[in-house]
Amino acid sequence: MNAMNHGNAPVWVIADQEKGNLLPVTPQLVGKARGLAHELETTVDVVLLGDGIEAHARSLIAAGAARIFMGNDPELANYHPEVYSGVIVKLAHEYQPQIILMGSTSVGRELAPLVAARLGTGLTAHCIDLGINQDGILDQIIPAYGGEITIVCPERRPQMATIAQGVFPAPELDRERGGEVVSIAGPFQSSGRMETLEVVIEQPEGIPLGTASVVVAGGAGAGDETGWNEIVQLSTILKAGLGCTRPAVDEGWADLESMIGQSGKMVSPDIYLGIGLSGEQQHMVGITGAKVMIAINNDKKSPVFSQVDYGVVEDCRSFLRVLLEKIREYKEQKANN
């Protein structure tokens, strides 16, 4: 779709639910969308698909939505790429939103490109901020190359972006606020080329990163499995959530689920320890509001040292061995006193 007269076209948020529970990213995006819509003198609509989700329509109106397009149907209970993207694309053609925001969740990061490609428009991945520029166009900010870059979609509409959970705060709910719920009728059928047989939710191991008050994050500087294991030991002994940068995932030391940053998890610990990592923006933007930040890196010129409170210039592998020993000694002494 091309930009025509999108003066008062609405700002959309696609809601994200898992087994009927609304994910926190959705109200966060509605809150941000409301700010953008205010600047554009328009309103926020939410597309809410699932089964048994009526209650969420009320809470999303309380979060700032003026209108909810609700598909509440057993056929929509589980995410289906064809069905979900089909519903959203059809609605987008009919109601012509100027902006569509989606969560960088596992569903959102598959669904967003399907919708964008079918609408023939641009899509910016994992934004860390959004704003409206003087031309009324959405500035989409992402971290890159030790800084930030602004991306815009100047002509085609809608302008689309994904945003991770925790980038924007949860809005205050106003239960008095009124809004409209538009029911979307089926049938919701797919071509049958794809079928979800089962959705399995597993309990994550260890201390959940998202809520940990201490986070230990490791990067390429670990060098190998042995070096990585020392970072794991440090996180265990400090009862910290264990995070990592992309190189640690690429090396196979850590899971994708533990990656912190723009395309991973957002964390907000009191204390952050970054070990053997270079302080790339893609990682550092994932840490918000930490009271104390500490980094260990063998290169004094590493960019990580301009983003922390305390720095240790040492090879993390040999340093961690000493540090772990001293922490154990301290704990033993403390236990004996």
């Binding site: 596992s106 399907l114 602004t150 991306i151 071509s191 047989l197 994708l256 689920e257 305390y310």
Partner: protein, 264 residues
């Protein structure tokens, strides 16, 4: 079975932090960062080669990039791919994810009768994950992203496990289809000497803009819905205090610091 693996040449992720935004010019300063196979695409190729070893499959590697990206395609041939195609043309330059997906999709259409398209779930440089699913839309194929296991092949129907935040989904898909893969899928093998020797006989096909027969406004910077309007370096966010002394003394100070802030 005809398998296409889409491959991106990326700056070596271990050295990618050498590419910086110049604070004065607000443009990129690129030191000599070598180009390597996007790590996740390497897992896609490995899976294709595994399927080839078990079934009768032909593996084509398809990459879009500058002529130097040919080295990456060559490396894939040495790893065991049968055919290598490089989509390279000045007209393709400056493509965003959408235009890249379109150009690759047109390359796949030109190949014809493709059963499976594999690629990494993300690129290490742009960190977008859009090329796989957008190609699928443009090719009219179903797609499963973040595949961590291909658990069943039954003719034209595959069963895969795809990662979710806290778990996975099992999905059954009719071929032809696009799959984007995670690193859990397999452990890529390293280059072998015999592979390098065999690859000497294989040549890379290069397709340019005219070979694809598409309108100029659909590729490269013209075919890209999005553009970068500004780059800025991030300023120091905190004032660092370096712990000093011997390694032992630094460790003592750090333990003390951890006690002060209540971690120990």
């Amino acid at each position: 079975m005809k398998i296409v693996v889409c491959m991106k040449a990326v700056p070596d992720p271990k050295k990618a932090s050498d590419i910086k935004i110049d604070p004065e010019t607000k443009t990129l300063v690129r030191r000599d960062v070598p180009m390597v196979i996007n790590p996740l695409d390497r897992h896609a190729l490995e899976e294709a080669l595994r399927i080839k070893a078990e079934n009768d499959a032909h593996v084509t590697v398809l990459s879009m990039g500058p002529p130097q990206a040919g080295n990456i395609v060559k490396e894939c041939l040495a790893l065991g791919a049968d055919t290598g195609i490089l989509l390279s043309d000045p007209n393709f330059g400056g493509a965003d994810a959408f235009a890249t997906a379109y150009t690759l999709a047109m390359g796949i259409k030109k190949l014809g009768d493709v059963d499976v398209v594999l690629c990494g779930m993300a690129s290490s440089d742009g960190a977008t994950e859009w090329v796989g699913p957008e190609m699928a839309v443009m090719l009219g194929m179903p797609v499963v992203t973040m595949v961590k296991e291909i658990s069943g092949y039954e003719g034209q129907s595959w069963e895969v496990k795809a990662a979710l935040e806290n778990g996975y989904r099992r999905v059954k898909v009719q071929l032809p289809a696009v799959f984007t893969v995670t690193r859990d899928l397999n452990s890529p093998k390293t280059l072998s000497f015999s592979g390098i020797i065999k690859a000497r006989k294989k040549s890379i096909t290069q397709w340019g803009f005219t070979d694809l027969g598409v309108p100029a406004e659909t590729v490269g910077v013209k075919g890209s819905p999005t553009i970068v309007t500004e780059m800025r370096p991030v300023e120091n966010t905190r004032e660092v205090l370096f712990l000093t002394g011997s390694r032992d003394e630094k460790a003592d100070q750090l333990v003390q610091k951890l006690v002060e802030v209540g971690v120990l």
